[in-house]
């Protein structure tokens, strides 16, 4: 077995076990911390594909920014008392159905996608470093300019919405 494969199995074990623990733990803070470790191990998967940029961005954005905010919110809300929220049966049913649908879509995507090994060979044949951030930037701003700009507009809208929601109404209006 090659070293990469061994590392892949170790990383996958960490990712999956941490994801399951995040779901099954009662304590919300522990759950968030498991999720942080899970996110960081996904960064490791990116490193296995030799894409340092995506690995680092995964760690900065998910582990470093989003999870910090989630942990922060949980700490402020004091969910520590482990009070179980009563969930009606309909909600659970809908959750199960939605999850199954997402699973089907993901499986279909995986079946129809190119196997990774073949893709990497194809990139190697071009003789270009497709992992480099320069190449990534050029591709993002040429071929994928419109989706890229749409994503930025979406983020901006979400940001303005969050500011608007948190803004208090001025008295006398």
């Amino acid at each position: 077995m090659s070293t990469v494969l061994i590392i892949f199995y170790i990383l996958s074990a960490i990712t999956l076990s941490m994801a399951f623990l995040a779901v099954f733990t009662r304590n919300p803070i522990h759950s968030a911390i498991y999720l942080v470790v899970c996110m960081m191990s996904i960064g490791g998967h990116f490193l296995l594909f030799n894409s340092q940029f995506l690995a680092i961005v995964q760690i900065i954005v998910y582990a470093g920014a989003i999870m910090v905010l989630i942990l922060y919110t949980i700490m402020l809300m004091d969910l520590n008392k482990e009070h179980e929220v009563h969930r009606p049966r309909v909600t659970r049913l809908v959750a199960i159905i939605l999850f199954s649908l997402t699973c089907i879509i993901l499986i279909l995507i995986f079946i129809n996608s190119d196997p990774v090994a073949g893709t990497i060979d194809r990139y190697d044949n071009f003789g270009e470093d497709f992992q480099s951030i320069k190449k990534l930037g050029k591709v993002l701003l040429n071929e994928y300019l419109v989706p890229f700009e749409y994503a930025s507009i979406l983020l901006l809208t979400a940001m303005i919405g969050a500011v608007l929601l948190s803004k208090k109404e001025k008295p006398g209006k």
């Binding site: 340092q52 680092i56 900065i60 470093g64 700490m75």
Partner: protein, 350 residues
């Protein structure tokens, strides 16, 4: 991979690690000395000449102290907090270029533990993970003051990371690379980035103070309000780890400021020295130059600590979100205009 390369890299990594530890140790000594001189005192002068053995005595004292544990349901997390703080403080030094290269025993030794393409982002990633050490430690202490300190520290660090990132973007637009090694190389011959990006340097410096939780931004351990902040419940070497991590972070920040803005290992006349005295002499002098620069910035951190009083919390947030972030964006726009000036002139028909 040949074994010589592995040995070479191991030696470099161990050297960087030992150097970081020694610098962090002696920063505590320097802090006391600087504080003493600024307050017209003498400072530590009993252990060794000029108190030089004081850090060792401090470490020994911390090891010998009673290990107190609060009654917390999260014992493992209580131990994890200082471990995260310490390890994130130490692994940042992996990507710092200490010099260009040395020729030893017929081999070319690159004076950097690892040269990855995205070293600046790596530093940012590690810094953003460093928040967890404080948050988890403060929360697991099961103490309201600790939790308040942790929450303060987290919001402060997250807020200033944004401004720090924005200040770096302007610099990256100019250098066109994310690798610290290349950024250091581009600044040879007094083309230091601080002359081209003074605003970026200023924002980065202020954010570095906030990220290392140093005065005037040490709201996380504000004694008058929060006892000791997030490390109130910690004792013995666990407390020592938190304090040590702060000094290690300070050392790393000083180094990164020197590399990004003050030419790193470059000094005036470096090419002349390499030409006349040989490569090794030139690069050893370069390492010395970097050392002098980072020592100045460590001194600067201490100088500010004993000069400027602590900010109020709303002032801190106001400075971060309403002054530094807009300034960073303006800086990016100005840099963009200057970089594309020929295109803009052509477009306007000059």
């Amino acid at each position: 991979m040949d074994s010589a390369l592995i040995i070479e890299k191991s030696v470099v990594i161990v050297a960087v690690f030992v150097f970081t530890m020694i610098m962090a140790m002696y920063s505590t000594w320097a802090e006391r000395k600087v504080a003493a001189y600024l307050q017209d005192r003498i400072g530590p002068n009993r252990a060794g000449w000029g108190g030089l053995l004081q850090p060792l005595a401090d470490g020994l004292k911390l090891f010998a102290k009673e290990e107190f544990e609060p009654n917390t349901p999260n014992r493992i997390l209580f131990f994890t907090g200082p471990a995260i703080a310490m390890s994130t403080a130490l692994i940042t030094s992996a990507v710092i270029p200490w010099g260009d290269k040395l020729e030893l025993f017929g081999r070319t030794v690159i004076l950097q533990a690892t040269d990855i393409d995205v070293s600046i982002l790596y530093v940012f990633g590690i810094v953003s993970i460093g928040v967890y050490g404080i948050m988890i430690g403060g929360w697991a202490s099961n103490n309201k003051f600790s939790l308040m300190g942790a929450v303060r520290a987290a919001s402060q660090m997250v807020s200033y990371e944004v401004a720090m990132g924005l200040s770096i973007i302007a610099l990256l637009m100019m250098t066109g690379t994310l690798s610290l090694k290349e950024i250091a190389q581009q600044q040879s011959g007094l083309h230091w980035n601080v002359f081209y990006q003074p605003l970026s340097f200023l924002i980065f410096l202020i954010c570095a103070f906030a990220e290392t939780n140093r005065t005037p931004f040490d709201l996380a351990e504000c004694e008058s309000e929060l006892i000791g902040g997030y490390h109130t419940e910690y004792s013995s070497m666990k407390m020592g780890f938190y304090l040590f991590a702060e000094y290690a972070n300070m050392f790393i920040s000083a180094t990164i400021i020197s590399v990004l803005f003050f030419g790193g290992y470059n000094y005036p006349g470096m090419s002349w020295v390499i030409e006349h005295w040989g490569n090794n002499a030139g690069n050893l002098l370069g390492m010395l130059a970097l050392f002098v620069k980072l020592c100045f910035f460590i001194f600067f951190f201490m100088w500010v600590r004993w000069t400027i009083p602590r900010f109020r919390y709303d002032q801190l947030m106001h400075l971060g979100w309403k002054i530094l972030i807009p300034l960073g964006i303006i800086n990016i726009v100005i840099t963009g205009i200057v970089l594309l000036r020929s295109e803009i002139f052509a477009f306007l028909g000059f």
